[in-house]
Assembly symmetry: C2
Homo-oligomer: 302 residues x 2
DNA sequence: TAAAAATACTCCATAGGTATTTTAT
DNA sequence: ATAAAATACCTATGGAGTATTTTTA
């Protein structure tokens, strides 16, 4: 059974008149009569009772009319949806994210997506680490990931969203809090509250310390920024983290910039090759949100 | 979008191979490639990624595959259902019935219908009177009615299902209970518990009494048989009702046949003209259930 | 280089058009 | 008598076939 025949039947059944239905279908009456007859033969069932004065539906015709309408609407909807997905205007993006993007960058992205890509459904998995995310991208378990470069090796492309710099967070009474700006080398005897070993920030920190000639002493690991800050506030050690992570929530904490602070970038990454139209559209949406030097809306000093 | 194209697409998407899909569709590969290309052009959307080694689905293709399968199944189901309704194997019959058929005849009909016409849905309205039912049939509010002839006039056809005869029911101590068989004329001085005036049984009774030379004195009307019998048992009067209504439920009641008992028939009626295939099938199913003399499985005497 | 999809072309089935007839009110 | 559907016949679009080329793993 062809959708064309269904459309023809619905037109005739609704108009109860072959002539008017033919007009509505932009065709002549005789071929319409033929096609309806053919439909009835195909279904081996009389659908219409015709006299020269009126056209009436048989019970089978009533059933067909009701259900054909629904089917045709569903088909139309399907066509629309396929078009939307094809144009990258609708669909699901599985987005991984580092924990430190959750509170500043992610809300902006989600807001922008909701406004500009209403057909997009974002499935966010937060609190992931860079190697986890690159692996998930490579294996197709994620479509996009917000992570901190560097990216180990293969098959991952990315676009910078934010260029950030490391800064130091100290407990309020700490002697180094007297200095307006700190040197990394001056921290060699401190105890550090660190992000997990495999995290991008920790990788950058350890490498920077190595260049400054020491290995940082890890007092405690903390996988979330809030935990890390509370450990620092409790005096368990000092923290080193991206400036953007700071906002003045606690008087027991003091932030100090680092001279020649190592850069930590935030980027959106995808598997190299052909990202889907949807992913491409989302990346276009991200591009204007990207900026290259630390936060501008908040002052990280003190 | 044509169902043919959907079928083609589903075949290719499932086989992930144009050649095999073409085989499955009993056609050559080149026209299949062309048709899929055409579908993609119609939808303005790439559905498949082809290389010479493998065929893969785009997100739009995945969506189309999933939903096209559903749509095609629905279409198939619709075709089946229309066929069933067309052949009168499925659909709804609105069946009216006189109250006195509810306990003997109706269960047999319903059982037979459930067994032989599983697609049939019977909507039964019981406790109706003959004139109500003929009117409802004429106006198309009922498809069939189980009623007692005669049918007043117009446009109603019927088939006899049961030929029954009137009998008398007496309170146990009644003088007439001594007789094994009664004459209607002998009841001229009795008080009667009657069915409603417009009921078919009452019509037959009044006419029979008129011919016997009297007008029955109505002590009480009762629209249901059970009510009527309880009034008789209470000694409020005697009853006259079809033999088939009797079964020995009460020792306070005595049944006696009437000599030359007037016939009361039970028939199934429909609007004259072209009953639908469904109604015709149901009538065919009823025909073998019809019988012409009173109950054979139960003995109405005493 | 070999398997598979795409292209080029040909053909014919059939959807749709026009002219006319039949039918029911 | 007339409006409307059915029939008869014709045309041409496009779906499907065969032969061949292109592509990429």
């Amino acid at each position: 059974m062809d959708t064309r025949l269904l459309r023809y039947f619905v037109a005739v059944a609704e108009e109860r008149h072959f002539g008017r239905a033919a007009q509505r279908l932009h065709m002549a009456q005789p071929p319409l009569s033929q096609q309806i007859k053919q439909l009835e033969e195909q279904l081996d069932t009389q659908l219409l009772v015709r006299t020269t004065r009126k056209v009436e539906l048989t019970p089978a015709g009533e059933l067909l009319l009701a259900r054909a309408r629904v089917l045709l609407l569903e088909l139309e909807q399907l066509e629309r949806d396929v078009r939307l997905v094809g144009q990258g205007a609708a669909g699901v993006i599985r987005l991984g994210s580092t924990g430190s993007a959750t509170f500043r960058l992610m809300p902006r992205l989600i807001e922008a997506a909701a406004a500009q890509m209403p057909g997009l459904q974002l499935t966010v998995r937060g609190e992931m680490l860079t190697p986890q995310m690159t692996e998930a991208l490579a294996e197709g378990r994620l479509d996009l990931a917000i992570l901190r470069p560097p990216v180990s090796g293969q098959d991952i492309e990315y676009m910078l969203l934010e260029r950030d710099r490391l800064s130091v967070v100290l407990p309020a009474g700490h002697p180094l809090a007297a200095e307006p700006e700190l040197e990394l080398a001056g921290l060699r005897h401190e105890k550090f509250i660190c992000y997990p070993q495999s995290s991008a920030v920790n990788t950058v920190l350890v490498e920077a310390c190595r260049r400054a000639g020491f290995v940082p002493a890890v007092a405690q690991e903390a996988s979330e920024t809030s935990t890390l800050l509370s450990f620092v506030a409790a005096g368990l050690g000092i923290g080193v983290l991206p400036m953007s992570q700071y906002f003045p929530h606690d008087t027991k904490l003091v932030f100090r910039p680092l001279r020649n602070a190592p850069a930590v970038d935030l980027a959106i990454a995808w598997k190299a090759g052909n990202p889907s139209a949807l992913v491409r559209n989302f990346l276009e949406l991200c591009a204007p949100l990207a900026f290259t030097e630390g936060p501008s809306d908040e002052d990280p000093a003190d």
